[in-house]
């Protein structure tokens, strides 16, 4: 008789027990696939949001992120257009965006507040897609009028200064030479980032206006946007020699929130995985131990007929593999259905800590995760069946044959 068929028939001798074991495995797979799928979605979302925010690669002066300059743009990039064109010549690069980070005071004529600003090319908004929630007005225009400089404000900053679309504000900042300079802007848009701390302070102005305010032709950084996130490392290694000592920083080194969440989730899911593995191990060990005990006389008979310990243990391992195959398939089917169900239900998650916007619940169905979960469950099941069967096989044949 085919060994796999023999194992399957043995399992069917106690269908309720087999069903219980299959259910436990299926639930474990469902739990791991669901939590893992949610984790993967979170990682992917944060990865996308980070790389969309700062680019896949940031080109800066050495030590840009470690040392604070005495004056604005003291460690900025000059001749950045040449570098930009060099990157843009590569077909894997979607865009290269120069940026200026600046800070100062914003005033409506009556009240003032501190701002943290970004000077960007106006195409940044169309390039990056919907990374802000525009609550009023528009994003920076591609062609600005020479009469008025447009500005976008975080919603809480606009509220604190009682600003609306079309209102005029003045930005006051220190130039790269250390002098004070001020420019007038007209409110073009009011947005929310979803992070209250940013909404209270952040502004966007055009790169040209930022350079005018700081009286410079430098930029702080160049953000390189690749078509594929996976090509980041390759691009860095290829472009580094041509950068003349400039620093290339991949997105993940600046993705502090992403790293923190990933580290936390990995630990949570790791613990969950271990708990699930223990549950499956104990349940299956219990099931197979009962099965081995009930079939002690049969084991003795087969051993008397000349079956080796290995062959006897293999029978039980194959039974465990049957349980794994059925349990994993059921678990994967359930997790696939859950993935679709969650998409269909369009469930909104509450805002995470430090944010004021929720997000849609999505659970990824990953084939590599499914393979990993299946493999781990199989290993646990094989181990538990081996241990359970070993106990039965170790019993002397003479005792096994008279076991009642």
């Amino acid at each position: 008789m085919n060994k796999f068929k023999f194992a399957g028939l043995n399992l069917l001798r106690n269908q309720r027990r087999a069903l219980l074991s299959v259910s436990i495995i299926a639930i474990a797979v469902l739990a791991l696939m669901t939590s893992g799928g949610y984790g993967l979605y979170t990682y992917h979302s944060l990865e996308e949001s980070t790389s969309r925010d700062i680019g896949h690669i940031m080109v800066t002066q050495p030590q840009y992120f470690e040392q604070e300059p005495d004056l604005p743009l003291g460690n900025g990039l000059t001749q950045y257009e040449q570098i930009r064109q060099l990157w843009l010549a590569d077909s894997r690069v979607k865009a290269v965006q120069p940026r200026i980070e600046l800070s100062g005071l914003i005033s409506n004529g009556e009240n003032s507040s501190i701002f943290m600003g970004l000077g960007v090319l106006p195409n940044e908004f169309s390039l990056k897609g919907p990374f802000l929630t525009l609550e009023q007005g528009h994003s920076l225009p591609l062609q600005s009028s020479p009469d008025v400089s447009p500005i976008m404000l975080g919603k809480d900053l606009a509220r604190s200064l009682k600003l609306n679309i079309g209102d005029l504000v003045t930005l006051l900042s220190t130039t790269t030479e250390g002098a004070l300079n001020a420019l007038d802007f007209q409110v073009q848009g009011i947005y929310s980032t979803g992070i209250p701390e940013l909404d209270k302070r952040q502004i966007y102005i055009s790169l040209a206006d930022a350079q005018s305010l700081l009286v410079t032709d430098k930029v702080s950084t160049l953000s390189v946007f690749a078509f594929e996130t996976e090509s980041t490392s390759q691009l860095i290694s290829e472009f580094q020699p041509a950068m003349n000592g400039l620093e290339l920083t991949p997105w993940w080194q600046r993705a502090f929130f992403y790293q923190g969440v990933k580290s936390l989730y990995n630990r949570i899911f790791g613990v969950l995985g271990v708990v699930m593995a223990v549950v499956v191990f104990v349940a299956l060990f219990n099931t197979l131990t009962m099965s081995v005990t009930e079939r002690t006389r049969e084991i003795g008979t087969l051993a008397a007929l000349g079956a080796s310990s290995g062959e006897l243990i293999l029978n039980f391992i194959l039974e465990a593999l049957w349980l794994v195959i059925v349990g994993v398939l059921v678990g994967l089917a359930l997790s696939g259905l859950l993935t679709l169900g969650v998409l269909w239900a369009d469930i909104q998650m509450p805002p995470p800590p430090g944010r004021n916007q929720g997000y849609p619940l999505v659970i990824y169905f990953s084939f590599s995760l499914a393979a990993l979960v299946s493999f781990c469950i199989a290993v646990v099941c094989v181990l538990s069946s081996w241990l359970a069967a070993r106990q039965g096989v170790k019993k002397p044949i003479t005792e096994a044959l008279i076991y009642v």
Binding site: M1, R13, A304, L305, G306, I397
Partner: protein, 241 residues
């Protein structure tokens, strides 16, 4: 064919020793059918287990077909697989296997080609009169039919020696006679040696000789056997060494 030399075995309960076999010497010839009888606790099952290479914790020596049987579990396992067959009182068929698969099991273990397995099992099924039941599961057979399947399983790989433990104890008279008859017939065809533990005179009266065991010692035969098996034993040859 089978030689037992100075076989001794004791069981221990705490520090108290209970001798089960006290220096058994026995020669069994090829093709012989030997009955092993004795009261409960006489050491019958212990001796049967040792003859069947199921127990290796004893003192003394076993020779099978002239070769000393070592205590190595692997060698014993291979000898059981290739040269021994077993018939149990409760048949011990594997319930999830069909009759055919149960009988074929020893051949499968020995790596026999499926075509040969089919031919050989079919022969045995014909011989024990169960050809029509080849695809039935054991639980659909009567006790006598199950024991015939067990007998076919014990003989299918043409072993040198078959160990049978009370093979007719669970059977009615007519069925027991059938099973004994089959053992004699097929055993004679294959020149198989049988060692049969039995209290059943329907069984022992067909044996070539009867060995009586009492308190772990082989006894001189007649009187002792009579006391156990009754007057019908008088015609039996009982040998002991």
């Amino acid at each position: 064919m089978l030689q037992l030399l100075q076989i001794q075995k004791s069981y221990w309960q705490g520090e108290i020793e209970y001798p089960a076999l006290k220096g058994i010497n026995l020669d069994v010839n090829q093709g012989e059918m030997v009955a092993l009888c004795g009261p409960s606790g006489s050491g019958k099952s212990t001796l049967l287990n040792i003859c069947g290479l199921l127990d290796h914790q004893f003192e003394g020596e076993i020779r099978l077909a002239g070769t000393k049987v070592e205590k190595d579990p692997k060698q014993r396992m291979l000898l059981r697989r290739q040269q021994l067959g077993f018939v149990f009182q409760r048949f011990n068929l594997i319930p999830v296997m069909t009759v055919f698969e149960n009988i074929a099991y020893p051949l499968t273990l020995n790596g026999v080609h499926p075509t040969q397995i089919k031919r050989r099992v079919s022969e045995l099924l014909e011989a024990v009169g169960l050809a029509a039941f080849a695809q039935h599961r054991p639980d659909r057979l009567s006790g006598g039919q199950q024991q015939r399947v067990a007998l076919a399983r014990a003989l299918v790989h043409e072993p040198l020696l078959v160990i049978a433990d009370e093979p007719t104890a669970s059977l009615d008279s007519k069925t027991a006679q059938q099973v004994v008859g089959l053992m004699r017939t097929i055993g004679a065809q294959q020149n198989t040696t049988f060692i049969i533990a039995s209290h059943d005179e329907r069984m022992t009266q067909h044996c070539d000789r009867i060995i009586h065991l009492q308190d772990g010692v082989l006894q001189a035969e007649r009187d002792l056997c009579d006391s156990v098996l009754g007057e019908n034993m008088n015609k039996q040859k009982v040998l002991s060494r």
